[in-house]
């Protein structure tokens, strides 16, 4: 019987954050793919409040919310630590993790909306990139975690992978390498880490599914 189970959905950046954390620490786990349009009774039992993925189940006990899960994983399996040990440095890392968590939903809004709503989301995304470029990546660090990735790098994964795919099929242009040189370097570095590179959803598949989802969402809005 697997000690660690992860309930996820192949498109969700929140799920990948947990996958990468488990793989970076070398923790074996059983992965259960959820159909979010038809959630399993087990998922609803493990996450009755939010009914969302990811849910980590460790020795039969569920943990919900991706950041709560990441911090739990980091505490139970301290090898390859994902947060700094110094309390102030850790507080700064947690600040950026919260920032990423609060702002990333605007990336998904880019494909869920159109017209003025989409413009607002695009503006929020652009401002988020400006803040990262101007405040989070100062000091010529390779990663937010220094020479190695940590929880902050993982937290910004939507910027590294999901944003580009969504820009592709919506025709939006928010991230441009020359406007965000530090961020551009970080994205290249982040995506060349083997654990990340080998565990990313396929961009063509993502494009097709999200494009279809967009069409359905916008059609249901106008009807």
């Amino acid at each position: 019987m697997a000690v660690v189970k992860l309930f996820g959905a192949w498109l969700s950046p929140y799920v990948y954050k947990v996958i990468w954390a488990l793989k970076l620490k070398g923790i074996p786990y059983e992965y259960i793919e959820e159909d979010l349009s038809n959630k399993s009774p087990l998922l609803l039992q493990y996450n009755p409040i939010h009914k969302k993925v990811p849910v980590l189940v460790h020795d039969g006990k569920p943990i919900c919310e991706s950041i709560v899960i990441l911090r739990y994983i980091d505490e139970i399996w301290p090898q390859n630590p994902l947060l700094p040990a110094d309390p102030h440095e850790r507080a700064v890392a947690l600040f950026w993790i919260k920032f990423a968590d609060d702002k990333s939903p605007f990336i998904s809004k880019l494909y869920r909306t159109d017209g003025e709503e989409q413009q607002v989301a695009a503006k929020e995304c652009f401002e988020m990139l400006e803040v990262i470029e101007g405040h989070a990546l100062v000091g010529e660090k390779k990663f937010f975690g220094g020479d190695e990735i940590n929880m902050v790098d993982i937290a910004f994964c939507s910027v590294a992978h999901w944003l580009g795919v969504i820009e592709g099929f919506t025709g939006l242009k928010i991230f441009e390498p020359h406007k965000f040189p530090r961020l551009n370097s970080w994205i290249q570095n982040f995506k060349s880490i083997p654990v990340i590179k080998d565990n990313l959803p396929d961009t063509d598949k993502m494009s097709a599914v999200l494009k279809r989802r967009r069409e359905m969402l916008l059609a249901s809005k106008s009807s």
Binding site: V68, Y72, E75, H88
Partner: protein, 219 residues
Amino acid sequence: MAEEVVLLDFWPSPFGMRSRIALAEKGIKYEHKEEDLRNKSALLLQMNPVHKKIPVLIHNGKPVCESLIQVQYIDEVWHDKAPLLPSDPYQKATARFWADYVDKKIYEVGGRVWKTKGEKQATAKKELIETLKLLEKELGDKPYFGGESLGYVDVAFIPFYSWFYALEKCGNFSIEAECPKLIAWAKRCMQKESVAKSLPDQQKVYDFILEMKKHFGIE
């Protein structure tokens, strides 16, 4: 080395109250600086350039932003007195989950109760009660969310109690009628000096909300 602790704050902010409570629980002496949010100090803008918001905790010149991060920082640095987070990782995860739930729900839904009217307000009131009932269920028969003593979730949540009277007046409803156990918990928390000293008078908060409503042109 002498510890220098400064809290940049704004008296009705439930987020500021969280850090006030945590500092008081640990018996930490600090300098409390009240900010005028219409005229933010150079210090605030320097210490929180990203959000320009309070509260900001400044420890020996280094800023910590975001109230729950401040509470966790205070708990870690001054760990030998009045621990707020449990030591067991699973219980810690549970505490973080519920503090996150309070963060995601109470401020936004509560805000809609005093900022809106008619059907929007009715919806907001219903959502608020549902949220509070869920928290009441999580509390169960424990004296505090933290168990026998005040914990992380209690510190995260109790500040909003100082806003209940204002919300009840604005929404014309009684929170105690719907969630008696929760109000009993709140009154229990208020018996603690760290909480009583950190929360403003509920009438004062109501007067503040009325001023805000006038300012924003909300009837």
